[in-house]
C-alpha cells in the first residue's frame, strides 16, 4: 500500500477503473457480445487490486516473489485482460485480438495462452483449491508472497469452494485473500432464485475466515477494507464486493440483467459515449 492521502489514491484508482472499463468495451466490440456486464461490474475491484494490492513486476512475470492472482472465473477473462493492459502486463494494442484465432487473449482464461494468467479458469470452484496449495507451498518455502483469488458469488454454489475454505482455515493460511464479485447474477438468472447464499460474511466467518463486505464500486471503501485485511492477517481473508453488472455504462446497467450480454453493432459507440460522460467517477 502506498502512503499517499486517501483522496489521491481514490482519484488515481477511479481513473484506472475508467480505463479498464474502456478496454473491456473495446474488446467486447471485437466479438459483439460477451461477459461485458461482469467486466464493467468488477472494474473498480480490479483497479484497486492491480493498482494497490498485488505485488508483481510487469517486466518479470515469473518473479518468484510475486503475489499470485488466480482468476477462477474464467469467463471474466475480458475483465482480467483489461486490468492486465492497465497494469502493463499486456499491451493495449493487443486487446483488439481478443477472442480471435491465434490470439493470446482467448475468451475463457487459460494460463498457457496469456502472460500473467496463473491458472486456467472456466470450470468453476477450482481457484480456491489451487490457491490453498499455492499458499501452503509458498509458506513451506518461506516465500512471503500472497495468493489472491478472484471468485464470483455464483462460484460459491460449488462444494469444492467450501472444501478449500475449510482447508485454508484449518491450515491457518493468512497468505490467502479471496475477493468475491457479488453481482447477484448467475447463468440462469438472479442468484437469489438459483441458490440463496446469504448471509455471506457470516458464513465465511463461521468457516474461520476474516470477512468484510463492501460496495464494490466504492473505491474508498474497497481500499479501507483491503488495507485492514492485508495489514496484519491472522487467518485467510475474504472481501465480498457487491457490484452491479454493467456499472459505468447506464444503457448496459439498466438492460435486463443477463449473464451473457449481447450488444448491437451500432450500440458500442453509445456505450463508450456514456462511459466517457460518466467520467472517472
Amino acid at each position: 500500500m502506498t502512503t499517499a492521502p486517501v483522496s489521491e489514491r481514490v482519484a488515481r484508482l477511479r481513473a484506472s477503473a475508467h480505463r479498464i472499463r474502456g478496454y473491456a468495451l473495446d474488446m467486447g466490440e471485437v466479438q459483439g457480445q460477451g461477459y461485458i456486464g461482469q467486466a464493467l461490474g468488477v472494474a473498480d475491484v480490479l483497479a484497486v487490486l492491480f493498482g494497490e494490492v498485488l505485488r508483481f513486476r510487469p517486466d518479470e512475470l515469473d518473479w518468484p516473489g510475486r503475489d499470485r492472482f488466480l482468476l477462477s472465473v474464467g469467463h471474466y477473462a475480458i475483465a482480467a485482460y483489461a486490468a492486465f493492459a492497465e497494469a502493463g502486463i499486456v499491451g493495449v494494442e493487443e486487446l483488439e485480438t481478443y477472442g480471435s484465432d491465434g490470439s493470446r487473449l482467448p475468451m475463457s482464461a487459460m494460463a498457457s495462452y496469456t502472460p500473467g494468467m496463473e491458472i486456467s479458469g472456466g470450470s468453476l470452484g477450482h481457484g480456491l483449491g489451487v490457491a490453498t496449495g499455492m499458499a501452503l507451498g509458498l509458506r513451506h518455502q518461506g516465500n512471503p508472497a500472497r495468493v489472491v483469488n478472484l471468485l464470483s458469488d455464483g462460484e460459491l454454489n460449488e462444494g469444492s469452494t467450501w472444501e478449500a475454505a475449510m482447508a485454508c482455515a484449518h491450515h491457518g493460511l493468512d497468505n490467502v485473500l479471496a475477493v468475491v464479485d457479488v453481482n447477484a447474477l448467475q447463468a440462469d438468472g438472479p442468484t437469489v432464485g438459483i441458490q440463496g447464499m446469504d448471509p455471506l460474511p457470516e458464513k465465511w466467518r463461521a468457516f474461520g475466515w476474516r470477512a468484510r463486505r463492501v460496495d464494490g464500486h466504492d473505491i474508498a471503501a474497497l481500499l479501507a477494507a483491503l488495507d485492514e485485511l492485508t495489514a496484519a492477517p491472522s487467518a485467510p481473508s475474504i472481501l465480498l464486493c457487491d457490484t452491479r453488472p454493467g456499472h459505468g455504462v447506464p444503457m448496459l446497467e439498466q438492460r435486463e440483467k443477463s449473464h451473457f450480454l449481447r450488444v448491437e453493432a451500432d450500440e458500442w459507440q453509445s456505450a463508450r459515449d456514456q462511459l466517457s460522460a460518466g467520467g472517472a467517477g
Partner: protein, 324 residues
C-alpha cells in the same frame, strides 16, 4: 453349520507369499531424503494408503487435506505450481470418479508434476462398488497428458516412485498397499516408465499383463509349464503411454494373445492392446482376461478373484479352455 469365508480377508497375496510392508510409503520417504521438493498429501486416508510412513519420516512435508478430494487435488496442483513435487493419496474411486475435474483441469491440463496415487485399484477390496475402482483406467486413459502406471508388486512400486517424481508431468499410480507381494526381484527386471518388459518367453501363449495380474500371469505360466504349455509374459506397467512396439512385437506371432488386468473389460489394457493390434493390421488370436462390465459383489477377496476370473486357478482354466 456352513463354513464361512470372512469378507475381512482383504489381501490378494497368497498365504505363503513373500511380501514387503508399505513399499510405496518407504520408497517415497527414502526419495524425499534426497529431494527436498517432494511433499505428500492425503485426504483422511494417510494410514490406508501407506502415506503414514512418509508422514512419520517428514512431518513438515506432509499435508492433511481432510476428507475433501477436490481440494486434495487442487492443492496438489497449487503446490506444483510453486515448484514442489507432490504425491497425493486417496482411494482410486475418489481420485478418478469424485475428483476427476480437478485431476483433469488443475493437474493434467497445465502438465504439472503431480503424482496422484489411487489405493484399492480394480478389485482389491471386498467392500463393494463404493470402494472398487474397477473403471479408473477407463476414466483416466482419456485424460490428455496423464501418464498411468499399474505396478505388479513391491519391486515395481519401489522403482516407480522415483521414476514418477523424475517425470516432468502428471501421473496416476495405482497403489498396492500394506503387505504387498514381492515377485519381480526373481526376474531380470527394472521398472522403466513407458516400457513393457518380457518376464518370460513362451511359444504357445503370450500373456500381456499389467498390475497385480502380472503376478498371476507368472504363476499361471509356471503351472502350465508342467503341462508342456509354453506361456510368455509381457508385463506392461505403464498403461499410458502404451509401449506399442513391444506389444506389436509380442502379438506378431502365431501365439494366442491374452491381456490380463485388474480392471473392467471396458477401456483398460485389453481394449488398448486390441485397438493397437487392429490399427496396425495385426490379426492375432486375441482375448481379454478382465473384470466383467458389472458392479461387483462384496465379499472375501480370494472368493471374488475366483468368481470374476482373476485368480491363478481361473486364469489357468481360461488359458486351457482357449487352447482346447
Amino acid at each position: 453349520m456352513t463354513a464361512r469365508t470372512s469378507a475381512m480377508i482383504a489381501s490378494f497375496a497368497d498365504p505363503d507369499q513373500r511380501t514387503t510392508q508399505a513399499p510405496f510409503g518407504h520408497a517415497l520417504a527414502a526419495l524425499a531424503q534426497e529431494r527436498p521438493e517432494i511433499v505428500g498429501l492425503s485426504a483422511d486416508l494417510t494410514k490406508y494408503t501407506d502415506m503414514h510412513v512418509f508422514r512419520e519420516a517428514h512431518p513438515d512435508r506432509f499435508f492433511q487435506m481432510g476428507m475433501s478430494e477436490q481440494v486434495l487435488l487442487g492443492a496438489a496442483a497449487g503446490m506444483a505450481e510453486v515448484g514442489l513435487v507432490p504425491f497425493a493419496t486417496t482411494y482410486a474411486v475418489f481420485a478418478s470418479r469424485r475428483a476427476y475435474d480437478f485431476l483433469c483441469l488443475d493437474i493434467a491440463e497445465p502438465g504439472l508434476n503431480v503424482t496422484v496415487v489411487g489405493g484399492l485399484p480394480g478389485l482389491t477390496t471386498g467392500y463393494g462398488p463404493s470402494h472398487q475402482a474397477t473403471e479408473d483406467l477407463a476414466i483416466l486413459r482419456g485424460c490428455p497428458n496423464l501418464t498411468i502406471v499399474d505396478p505388479c508388486d513391491s519391486v515395481d512400486l519401489e522403482q516407480a516412485v522415483p521414476a514418477l517424481a523424475d517425470h516432468d508431468g502428471p501421473t496416476y499410480l495405482r497403489l498396492l498397499r500394506g503387505a504387498v507381494p514381492t515377485v519381480l526381484d526373481e526376474y531380470d527386471y527394472r521398472f522403466e516408465l513407458g516400457r513393457a518388459a518380457e518376464l518370460r518367453g513362451g511359444r504357445d501363449v503370450v500373456l500381456i499383463s499389467t498390475g497385480l495380474m502380472t503376478m498371476r500371469a507368472l504363476q499361471a505360466a509356471a503351472r502350465l509349464e508342467a503341462d508342456h504349455v509354453d506361456v510368455a509374459v509381457l508385463h506392461v506397467p505403464t498403461i499410458k503411454p502404451l509401449d506399442q512396439d513391444a506389444i506389436l512385437a509380442a502379438a506378431g506371432t502365431d501365439r494366442l494373445v491374452l491381456t490380463c488386468e485388474n480392471h473392467t473389460v471396458i477401456g483398460g489394457l485389453g481394449e488398448a492392446v486390441g485397438s493397437t493390434l487392429a490399427l496396425a493390421g495385426v490379426a492375432a488370436r486375441f482375448g481379454q482376461v478382465a473384470l466383467p462390465d458389472q458392479f461387483l459383489a462384496a465379499g472375501a477377496l480370494p472368493t471374488l478373484h475366483e468368481r470374476y476370473g482373476l485368480s491363478t486357478d481361473a486364469l489357468v482354466a481360461r488359458i486351457r479352455a482357449e487352447l482346447a
